[in-house]
């Protein structure tokens, strides 16, 4: 029966802590790219998803129900499938092949953006619909137009929407399938935390994998704590 010597694990762990404390350059580069890609993706997804979700919640337009159903269904899209679709679009033979984006951080941003836009849009549709029920008569009485109503509801729902955005970020930064396919996990180019963990673990380089894993968990934890803190603080302040 094969057995991993405990000392190896302890050693890996010690090495991981050492890398974290020394602020290892490779580690820093990977974490930096991860944050750059996922923050860009979440920024883009918010720019698209917030108004889209609000519009779905507020306006009657042809295909509204279909859009809403799609958004909800796409909340749980498998990252590898999104990766595959973006790969096909960006590959040399694909419709967007001329852009030459495949295996660049831009491709990874696009893939993660596609992955989380439905999450942010569906959650903001829900938030905006709830608020609208409460605000509708009052806003009509104050003579707010449709566009003004949309902006008002997004603003007054800002804290709940922030938690939707954090949820999107959490999903983006933790997914591995999409960035692996469209980024290719190229060292010093497209290697992010999740793909590095996958690779280093398979190579037996547990220290780097563990160090990255610790950072990833800390990030996930931080995001959730921030979401909870925002929720509690605003419930107390704004009702």
């Amino acid at each position: 029966m094969p057995r991993y010597p405990l000392t190896d694990l302890t050693a890996a762990f010690a090495l991981a802590l050492d890398m974290l404390l020394r602020v290892d350059r490779d580690l820093l580069e990977i974490v930096g790219l991860s944050l750059r890609v996922s923050l860009s993706a979440v920024g883009l997804a918010a720019l698209i998803g917030l108004p889209l979700g609000a519009a779905v919640a507020l306006f009657r337009f042809p295909g509204r129900l279909a859009v809403h159903a799609l958004l909800t269904a796409f909340m749980g899209l498998p990252p590898v499938v999104v990766g595959l679709i973006v790969y096909l679009l960006l590959s040399r033979a694909g419709p967007l092949g001329v852009l030459g984006l495949l295996f660049t951080p831009a491709a990874m941003i696009i893939a993660q953006c596609l992955l989380i836009t439905p999450i942010i849009a569906a959650l903001s549709a829900q938030t905006v619909a709830d608020l609208h029920e409460e605000y509708d008569e009052q806003l009509r009485s104050l003579a707010a137009g449709p566009g003004q109503t949309l902006v008002t509801l997004l603003w007054d729902g800002r804290f709940r929407l922030l938690t939707a955005i954090l949820a999107g970020f959490g999903r983006a930064v933790a997914e591995v399938g999409a960035v692996m396919i469209v980024g290719g996990n190229i060292n010093h180019a497209t290697r992010v935390m999740t793909t590095a963990i996958a690779l280093e673990t398979s190579k037996g380089n547990l220290a780097l994998a563990l160090a990255l894993g610790i950072i990833l968990i800390a990030l996930a934890l931080g995001v959730n704590l921030a979401a909870m803190a925002i929720r509690d603080a605003t419930r107390a302040r704004y009702g």
Partner: protein, 241 residues
């Protein structure tokens, strides 16, 4: 200039509202003139809130007409305001709540602050201007809702039981605010359960029962000698729905 012509009087012609086979507002005809404070009285469920919503344009009558002398559409909408039985305050500061309707109307940023400060002072809310509106006390919230409605200087202000759930001091503050708004030239149309309040504020009474306008009388006459048996019973506290 368009501003010069009043949107009043408001004319209701056989206004009827039906929902799920029930007649909630039953053929109400009335002219609301610019002069005088009009109070709508009636037991719970009489249709007072619905009538205000119909007048304000939030509901459409299923039959009958509602006509403003000053025309229709956007202009009429922007020159009236309503304070709801449960006002919805925006999740922002008290001052931002008052600024909001000015912003909607495209009042230049530079002109807004003076109007906001004046409205806050007028409503006695200067000290809580920067507090989130939703942590204010019930009385403060109600005054804020009135200040927000009044900051655009509407020609007509509809108020739906603006002092329900308030203590006597807060009620008095609201009544003084309403009287000041009326003195500044805004037509007041409001509902109340408080007969003392109706005596203090009303120039005329519209008495509603089961969705029908049973009588419309000068306030002094209404309290001295109501013309209908229902109104008499209501004044004695004997009329239940």
């Amino acid at each position: 200039m368009a501003e010069a012509t009043s949107i009043l009087p408001l004319r209701l012609t056989s206004v009827t509202l039906q929902a799920r086979g029930q007649t909630l507002i039953d053929g109400i005809s009335a002219d609301l003139q610019a002069a005088g404070r009009s109070l709508i009285l009636g037991p719970n469920g009489a249709g007072k809130s619905l009538l205000l919503r119909l007048c304000h344009g939030l509901l459409r009558p299923t039959a009958g007409r509602i006509d403003w002398a000053g025309g229709n559409g956007e202009r009429v909408r922007r020159r009236q305001a309503m304070v709801f039985q449960d006002p919805v305050l925006l999740r922002r500061s008290a001052a931002a709540n008052i600024r909001y309707p000015l912003h909607l109307r495209g009042i230049p940023r530079g002109e807004r602050q003076a109007a906001v400060d004046e409205a806050l002072a007028h409503a006695g809310l200067g000290a809580v201007a920067d507090r989130p509106a939703r942590v204010l006390s019930g009385g403060e919230q109600q005054r804020l809702a009135i200040a927000r409605a009044w900051v655009t200087r509407p020609e007509v202000l509809f108020l739906d039981e603006p002092t329900s759930n308030l203590d006597p001091a807060a009620t008095r503050a609201i009544e003084e605010l309403i009287l000041a708004v009326a003195r500044a030239g805004t037509k007041i149309v409001m509902t109340t359960h408080d007969l003392g309040q109706a005596r203090r504020l009303a120039d005329e009474i519209l008495f509603l029962h089961h969705g029908r306008l049973l009588e419309r009388t000068a306030a002094a006459d209404f309290f001295a000698a109501p013309r209908t048996a229902e109104a008499a019973a209501f004044l004695k506290g004997d009329l239940l729905c």
